[in-house]
Symmetry: C2
Subunit: 352 residues, 2 copies
DNA sequence: GTACCTTGGTAACGCGCGTTAGTTTGAGCG
DNA sequence: CGCTCAAACTAACGCGCGTTACCAAGGTAC
């Protein structure tokens, strides 16, 4: 008996059904399934219950469990999924980590189509929705490193910011270590023998530009060099912007007359444009001019020819660390630091 | 009175609290909040209740509501988020559509890090987790158009496949209309005056290649032309593969001696490689050779120089249509077709 | 006056589960 | 034999909510 196909009959199978099937009380089933330490259930009864679970294809009801136990095992993450070349990596890191700790990650978009008015309103809706699900903690992920204002409702549960930081300085955050990343990039160029390095900069005001340039200066200083301001040009953070910026640098200095032998592009898209500028002038990468990028935007860096050496933004790691931090917070443990910085590793490919 | 800050006091505010605050029964509150038609509640009582909701910062408990009403308003989507250049677009389309219909989309990864054994097991776990949340419907999204086997548990709730189809032919699916896409691409080249068109093909066996090539033939036939088999070369679906394939075509035919004046690349990554092969030979795009791609992989197509004209895979539309189809199914309505095909629109940029 | 509405509510049940406070049984011990 | 105590359970409550009864008061119609 009890050999009915588990799957088909599953809808609506409850713990009471399992109990009846096994000839025990519902409480006994609950004890066995929640693996309580101090539960005194005989080995024989336990196996009978587990068999019944199998036979009926019982599946716990997560909502009911959350209601009764007053804990949901759910975290929520709010992110701008629409502009998401990167957000998806944060989500992936967070998902994996959540899965490992047997939690479920609810994902809510911060930029809904039907939302009207300023951004505040949209994000509020996302936070509200997640709180209605009774998430135990919240993550807020930005697609580029910046300061953000978080809706007040985020104060109701532990909240961690990823790839951004609280403009009011209250919430814990996780950001990439831009400075160390800039340093490692330029150190790589120095190690390859380049001493005159052009820098294709982003908007100089954003945290990414500030940190990466600072790291660049540190690296140069370590080699007894200084950053030549004439070699730093800014542009729009696009391939076109990178193309134009590279043209300006290359055309300012003819070959041999102070022309840099390497370009540090502060993001990969600009590096993509720089490639074109270099190739147009009949120069070879990396023989004539080395290029190093930043971001590791896979679809660009891994498909450019030659493949681009770049510094990776640790999105997955930040996502994972976000969940870990949340786990500490919800467990009432103190966290190590208010702002955690994650390393940006160098990815060697073929452009240096 | 009743002017306490709504936000801070919110945790744990229940309908009973609202009822007490408003001096009515909990049932009355429930009636007002669920906006039932036949509920007889005086306007005065209603406003008193709504004021209490505001004052206390009441937020419904989605889990409890689902438990009591036996419906969750949740859909689940399973996808390979790790390899997700495209999956994210499907998710975005589905999210938006779900949000519009006041539903919540739970996202589960089909490729978890800790999962062991063959793929089957991993996806099973994702489906199980979602079913534990009592989702009302399931979406399964693939990152490239192909046949899939879906875990048996998917039979328990309405399930729709996106960008793939059921190998057993049972589940409804939504796929891109590859054939029409191939046709529109080649028609665009014909319209620009090209009659000798090279094709850089994918693995000829996959559905995308079959459909796109078929569309290509249709377009040629419409102009009284035939596809020259010598002009069709296959390669790995990468930039390198596209580069090599383009080299083979270009080197086989010297200028003027039957060299095609346009290349139809069956995906954008291969087009990226073809760009390099063309530029290397001192040829200009599109003046000497026009290039058209497929997929509209934004980070490539929009940043190549010149920007790539390509046919877009309608990921967001497919995601949205998936949710709509699911909504029909869960509402018990019949769906229009077992397999729905979504148009692949031509995106004009500057390579033709 | 009685029967029968409609309006404006409320009491109480149950959704599936975790959990606490019992209850029964049998073994051990003096 | 009577007592205690651990082992192996079960009864029952409550989580927050939707929903189905039911009820009281006031108005009509005859």
């Amino acid at each position: 008996m009890a050999n009915t196909p588990p799957v088909a009959a599953t809808r609506g199978v409850t713990m009471a059904d399992v109990a009846k099937h096994a000839g025990v009380s519902r409480t006994a089933v609950s004890f066995v399934l929640s693996k309580r330490e101090n539960a005194s259930i005989s080995a024989e009864t336990r196996t009978r219950i587990l068999e019944a679970v199998q036979a009926l294809g019982y599946r716990p009801n997560a909502g009911a469990r959350a209601l009764a136990s007053q804990r949901s095992d759910w975290y929520g993450i709010v992110t701008e999924i629409v502009t998401a070349p990167f957000a998806v990596d944060i989500i992936k890191g967070a998902q994996d980590q959540a899965w490992l700790s047997r939690r479920f990650l609810l994902i809510a978009p911060s930029d809904q189509a039907d939302a009207v008015g300023p951004n505040e309103g949209m994000e509020d809706a996302a936070f509200e929705k997640l709180l209605e699900q009774r998430v135990e903690g919240l993550l807020y992920a930005a697609t580029f490193h910046r300061a953000v204002h978080v809706p007040k409702s985020a104060n109701e549960v532990p909240t961690v910011l990823i790839n951004c930081f609280d403009a009011d300085g209250k919430l814990p955050s996780i950001v990439p270590d831009e400075r160390a990343g800039g340093r490692v990039a330029v150190e790589r160029l120095l190690q390859a023998g380049h001493t005159r390095i052009g820098v294709i900069n982003l908007d100089p005001d954003i945290p990414a530009a500030v940190g990466r340039l600072e790291g660049c200066r540190e690296a140069l200083a370590g080699a007894g060099l200084e950053l030549d301001p004439d070699l730093v040009v800014s542009g729009y953070a696009t391939a076109d912007g990178g193309y134009e910026a590279a043209c300006r640098i290359l055309d300012k200095y003819p070959a041999g007359a102070g022309r840099p032998s390497a370009l540090f592009c502060l993001n990969d898209r600009m590096a993509m444009g720089a490639y074109d500028a270099i190739k147009e002038r009949g120069l070879a990468i990396p023989q004539d001019i080395a290029v190093i990028g930043f971001d590791n935007q896979e679809l660009i860096a891994a498909y450019l020819r030659p493949k681009l050496t770049t510094v990776a933004l640790p999105f997955e790691e930040m996502g994972a660390l976000g969940v870990q931090t949340l786990a500490s917070l919800t467990a009432g443990q103190p966290i190590t630091a208010h702002q955690q910085m994650v390393d940006c590793p160098l990815l060697e490919r073929f452009s240096v």
